[in-house]
Symmetry: C2
Subunit: 242 residues, 2 copies
């Protein structure tokens, strides 16, 4: 889903800006010039040259015009999670689902950065954004709950992992937005999501041939009753020492 040419998903597939695009463009021009609170829907439709009913056909509220692509991205994420064969590693699957959100932002960096600055300065928009983020998190958690249904603590595990993935995603997204969209978004995202995957145990980690070549063996001796975190720390210390 490339956003580089605008936000429209016109039924005719034409590159010509749609009414929806015109409304978004007009809204951001006014928000930037006069502030979000000071701009009315009437101001937006007047500048865009479309009727008031057109606005509400595309956006339930003035807040929604600031986040025009999230509905589409949520739908895309839902389909992506439904489409799996059910044998994929669930943690990797939700990480890949989260990447769809970053891809949406990265498809239109200047818009993403403009919106980031606007959202930071308007509490009402910040609240609206939280409800969008919550819907992504619910979508990921619902998928994980299904996948973990047979496990003890399946719901708890699902909720905690979904929250971890969203937090890691948002950390990487903010880092990229603060670079004014100049840095490589996928490098930040890969790093943050790998951090989560390492905590929760992804299946099917690919290993390259040269890793195989340097493979060797670690012997760890620990007290049986040592807590797991202490064992892990011991292993990490050993593995780092190479």
């Amino acid at each position: 889903m490339s956003e580089a040419q605008g936000h429209g998903r016109g039924a005719d597939g034409s590159a010509k800006p749609s009414k929806r695009d015109a409304l978004i463009e007009a809204a951001f021009e006014l928000f930037t010039a006069h502030g979000f609170e000071q701009t009315t829907v009437d101001d937006i439709v007047r500048l865009a040259g479309v009727g008031r009913s057109s606005f509400f056909r595309h956006f339930p509220s003035k807040e929604d015009v600031v986040f025009p692509d999230h509905e589409g991205c949520l739908a895309e994420m839902t389909i992506f999670l439904q489409e799996g064969s059910g044998t994929e590693d669930p943690v990797i699957r939700v990480c890949d689902a989260a990447r769809l959100v970053m891809r949406m932002y990265a498809g239109n960096p200047s818009f993403a950065v403009q919106r980031y600055r606007l959202t930071k300065s308007v509490p009402g928009l910040r609240h609206h954004e939280l409800s969008v983020v919550w819907r992504y998190e619910r979508t990921l958690a619902d998928y994980l709950r299904r996948r973990f249904a047979h496990r003890p603590d399946g719901t708890l595990r699902a909720d905690v992992i979904a929250a971890s993935v969203v937090a890691a995603h948002n950390n990487a997204l903010r880092t990229w937005l603060r670079s004014a969209g100049q840095e490589d978004p996928s490098a930040h995202m890969d790093h943050a999501l790998r951090f989560v995957q390492n905590s929760w145990g992804p299946e099917g980690e690919a290993r390259s041939a040269d890793e195989e070549d340097t493979d060797d063996v670690v012997v760890l001796i620990t007290k049986r009753k040592a807590p797991m975190w202490r064992v892990v720390r011991g292993i990490e210390a050993t593995l780092d020492d190479r």
Copy 2:
């Protein structure tokens, strides 16, 4: 902070219901009878027998009267996190901070359950609640960012752990609320937070004397390049086999 006797924190410390308590009580009576959207601030002040300006002295908005104790709880959490000596295990510290929120709910079960049902049915309240939850999460994350400032990925680690703790807390809280406040809230909370602590490695885990008695040794042999989750799974399998 016991809430069992009401929500008031009158300057005189008296048990007599304050104007604030009267407003909360009137608001919930009206919300339950007529619905949240259908009730106005004027309706609330009329039933409570106080002036309109009293309402706005205590609550910025109609939404805030539904969550009357969160400001106090946030302040308590902030102080608790500041008061540490700086040597506590940071993960255990944020888990204990999260317990303050549960304690607030558990102090007044019937009010907590009533609010849970109301919030579930009114989208505006759900959004308001998300912004409250977000402030708790930011408070925990800010503390962890300070504690992890010297670590690589300190900010990422802080954000992910704070989100994990909040998700685990909310999972336990919802389980308790769905039991209509009948079950033991701390048992649910201990279980959920232990799940997070086991993932992130709490320091200072207490070990009882009889655990010491059964102490013995595990030898694990693993390939050096094996991913950490596979090593952990191997250890878990070994430890379970007793």
